[in-house]
Symmetry: C2
DNA sequence: CTGTTAGCGCATTCAG
DNA sequence: CTGAATGCGCTAACAG
């Protein structure tokens, strides 16, 4: 029945094309195309049924590559994150994937593991894929190394792609802007109100924008006080390391993200320092996977999945100029902090 | 300088094609193709340089869709997981993305959130993308609902795609097989050797293969004993709920994965049951993000990232029949378990 | 080593 | 409403 249809491939496979379907249904290629793919044109009910049946019988599958080539635009959205194992990015990715799916798009993820060169390489690759949009999550360093990325993004946009950023509004692109300063400030105020006066901030890398904003927002909301600032990597081990050099008098420690707070917690435990008895500890992000930690982490909750989803929606919207969506964090006081 | 090159697009963008590059370099289309894309053919140094310069000047970017169409094979690998937020899948995804990158491929992820229909839909979509391979992570239910998936996978393979599975060897595909039974058995023996005799297993869904294997492996290694089996969802809340109905005499609880163990830990804490003082607790997977839990979780370590990487390598290998790679778990005793 | 020539599978004018 | 014809950008024979 399908002896004359389909093409044999090297491996010995068949592949049914639109033309096969059209022939089998006794209609033109154009008509088959119109019914099988979302065309604006209408097709008579009779032919439509024929085509659909033929497609089903033959097991027709759209060739997305051909479609993309013919249409000049594909259905992939690129997502570039630092590390999928970091629950912060995993949550964002989850939201992005879900939103993309709602729009009939698929997501391609790239992980850079904080290598700027890889970030650029992924944007380039996504450009080659003619991805509809690329979403960048995780803040870049506030330094010259970002120039290469910028250039690559410009190229990408010059080719007709959209770009959206999760983090801060820096690249002149659509942005899901996190109110890091405000969130950290609110946290600082809450902590201050609980009687704390001697603070330390596990501040992350000195030039990582998200870290800097949270650190500054926190310190800025503590008039007259000057918290001890300790820099280090933005991850669990960074928190562990930084916690080791906290000054003796400190009663409350703010780690600029939850994952670092976990590291700090481990450091305290290893040194026999009890939380919150001896020192209070707070983080930022409210990572779901970490909610069962003991003591439960005081933090600033961010709608991570929603942020990812919003980013793809921004990138897919038809808005003219780059638009910015703001998201606020919500202070959540839990057992890791105790009033003084 | 580029007034006659490139095509203007609706949005007003340029897009430089290989033909533009060839013309600009004064060579043939074929030659340009050969130098710019990994062809086996050699090109003279002179022309090669010319082409490369032309490409750079014009800002040429390969059109992957066209390439895929012409070649009949693309460079995407599909990865289908249940939930990126679950650190188990995140780790596997991380490994897969890295491995794919090493092979010059990109990864498209789909999340099903345990909806079989979505799993099928993703495989179908990946087929349309002419994805080189699809990796399925997370075990499917051992029931009729898997039939649809099987059919879809067959269609996918009929089109020339490869499929690899992370979990158990069931689909007749390349498989990264986890020694769930052996790992759970080894754990049981270790626990038994520490003096435990009264066990409970937070067993997960009755028909989820991974869960069943772990449960059976565990119980099977406890001759003469019959642990209390409590079924429930395979996630954190499932562990919490199941832990609520543990019999009084039990001294040691095995949750079939770490995430469930975390839930159980929370349940114990809420009810004033101390771990490991009142009851010992063990999990499975050794999720990195959970290593700082207190008490530290006794578990069976799985090389998650490596499993993901192996899966893509299997799928990309030229091996004829479906091959199976076995991975073993390693028992890791930590503070959540105490000898009796 | 290099150029010419056909398609790859599909969307889309443009006629009818 | 339907069909015929053209081209998307690139690769891969096939000649030269």
């Amino acid at each position: 029945m399908c002896g004359i249809l389909g093409n044999r491939f090297p491996g010995g496979f068949f592949v049914v094309t639109l033309e096969d379907v059209a022939r089998h249904a006794g209609v033109s290629l154009a008509t088959a195309s119109r019914v099988l793919n979302g065309s604006a044109r209408q097709v008579g009910a009779g032919l439509r049924a024929k085509v659909e049946q033929a497609a089903a019988e033959l097991g027709y599958r759209t060739n997305v590559a051909a479609q993309t080539l013919a249409r000049g635009a594909g259905n992939v959205i690129g997502l570039v994150v630092h590390d999928l194992v970091d629950p912060y990015f995993a949550a964002i990715a989850d939201g992005a994937v879900k939103a993309a799916e709602d729009h009939g798009m698929v997501v391609m993820v790239g992980t850079t593991h904080r290598d700027p060169a890889k970030e650029i390489a992924y944007v380039s690759s996504l450009g080659a894929q003619r991805a509809r949009a690329v979403i960048l999550a995780g803040s870049r360093m506030d330094d010259p190394s970002a120039a290469g990325l910028r250039a690559e993004l410009d190229r990408y946009r010059a080719g007709g792609g959209r770009v959206a950023v999760v983090g801060q509004d820096l690249l002149g692109a659509d942005t899901v802007a996190v109110a890091n300063r405000a969130g950290a400030a609110a946290l600082a105020e809450a902590l201050h109100a609980m009687g704390h006066r001697e603070f330390a901030v596990l501040a992350g890398p000195p030039r990582l924008i998200t870290a800097v904003e949270r650190c500054e927002g926190f310190a800025g909301a503590l008039p007259g006080l000057s918290p001890q600032i300790i820099h280090g990597p933005f991850d669990r081990d960074g928190g562990y390391g930084a916690a080791l050099s906290i000054d003796p008098g400190v009663t409350c420690v703010f780690a600029v993200n939850d994952v670092m707070a976990v590291g700090a917690l481990a450091a305290f435990r290893d040194r026999g320092i009890r939380v919150p008895d001896d020192v209070s500890l707070a983080g930022f992000d409210d990572i779901a996977t970490l909610r069962d930690l003991v003591p439960a982490l005081t933090t600033v909750r961010l709608p991570l999945a929603e942020m990812g989803a919003r980013a793809v929606e921004l990138a897919l919207s038809e808005e003219a100029g780059p638009s910015v969506v703001h998201v606020e964090g919500e202070v959540v006081i839990r057992e890791s902090v105790r009033a003084r």
